[in-house]
Symmetry: C2
Subunit: 225 residues, 2 copies
Amino acid sequence: MDRSDFTEKKVVFEEKMSWLQEKLQQMGSLVEEAIANSIDALKRQDLELARAVINGDDIIDNLEHEIEEKILEVIATQQPMARDLRRVVTLFKMISDLERMADYATSISQITLRIADQPLIKPLVDIPRMAILSQKMVKQALDAYVREDVELAAAVGQDDDEVDKLFGQIFRELLTVMMENPKTITQATQLLFVGRWLERISDHATNIAEEVIFLVTGEKRNLNE
Amino acid sequence: MDRSDFTEKKVVFEEKMSWLQEKLQQMGSLVEEAIANSIDALKRQDLELARAVINGDDIIDNLEHEIEEKILEVIATQQPMARDLRRVVTLFKMISDLERMADYATSISQITLRIADQPLIKPLVDIPRMAILSQKMVKQALDAYVREDVELAAAVGQDDDEVDKLFGQIFRELLTVMMENPKTITQATQLLFVGRWLERISDHATNIAEEVIFLVTGEKRNLNE
């Protein structure tokens, strides 16, 4: 392959990468929205919105498959090497993380439907806080990928610590509520799961951030301690 | 590329695939063992075994990275096309599922350490049952991949339904225990999480089974309903 062929191939590859990154951002926005809506629906016991989150999961799944197919096509036709191959593979892993996050948003909405027959045992404060942080983490992790920004990726890990702390608080609070009033147990255990799912969502955002750091520096850093 | 080059390339590729599949089985065995040990440690409150599960997670993570690097090398040097590329990519996704399962086994062992200061509120029966089923699912899903056996993969989905049913049972039982005796709440919520993690483990086995079906038939089937 002479030099001009090489340049041309690289141009085509970068075009395909731009397309993929655009789709990634699109998927990321849908996931952020699903997280926000799932908690909003829970907080306001808005069953219609909860159902919309559940139904919207198919769109996210389809987008994942579309991106996946395109990635395979890029690998097969462009045969990226070394760092370019790793960029593509990182993308492949990221969409899997995003898809899992959307699954958790769906699980949260299923809980909203499940506990719809009674008012909330307490106004939700820390759970929405966890959700806002998780969303921010998703956004930052994707931005870190696009800009290949290691510092921004590391910041995602700091927010993850904050999410873990909030979950610890929620956990202790809900245990107290249950012990004081066993009638709250059924709903409180469901709210505990909501907290756990948000924690898992933030773990997936942290995964993405770690993948970005590995892509840029070649270093396997564990942000989730 | 003439015919003999092509054949030679295919032979090299299949050699590398054999190596990868062997490593995959190795990783699968470690994950099955981690699941079994995590539940055994919980049941017998064996803290040493719980710690061994937690420490063993690094070995599984390292194996994942080793396989991942090899997969990238195979893609870069062998440039597999069409179905061979999909075989490699399926493997790539499977090791990520396996790694997540090991994380859940670690989470279960952390719970074992957390509730070590008091005896179990009840002998565990259904949780070990869930664990045995989950392990079987992992084994079958990997066998289905190696043999490209769609029927075996579909059977994994049936076991997943069984796991979900067991979890429903565990959930109702633990709620009753908590309501009757609020002193059990702290431990019972931890046991609820153990049930959830096992359910997630079986979901990941089901993911693998779905990936196998997609690889063999090109059909996206949802086994997890």
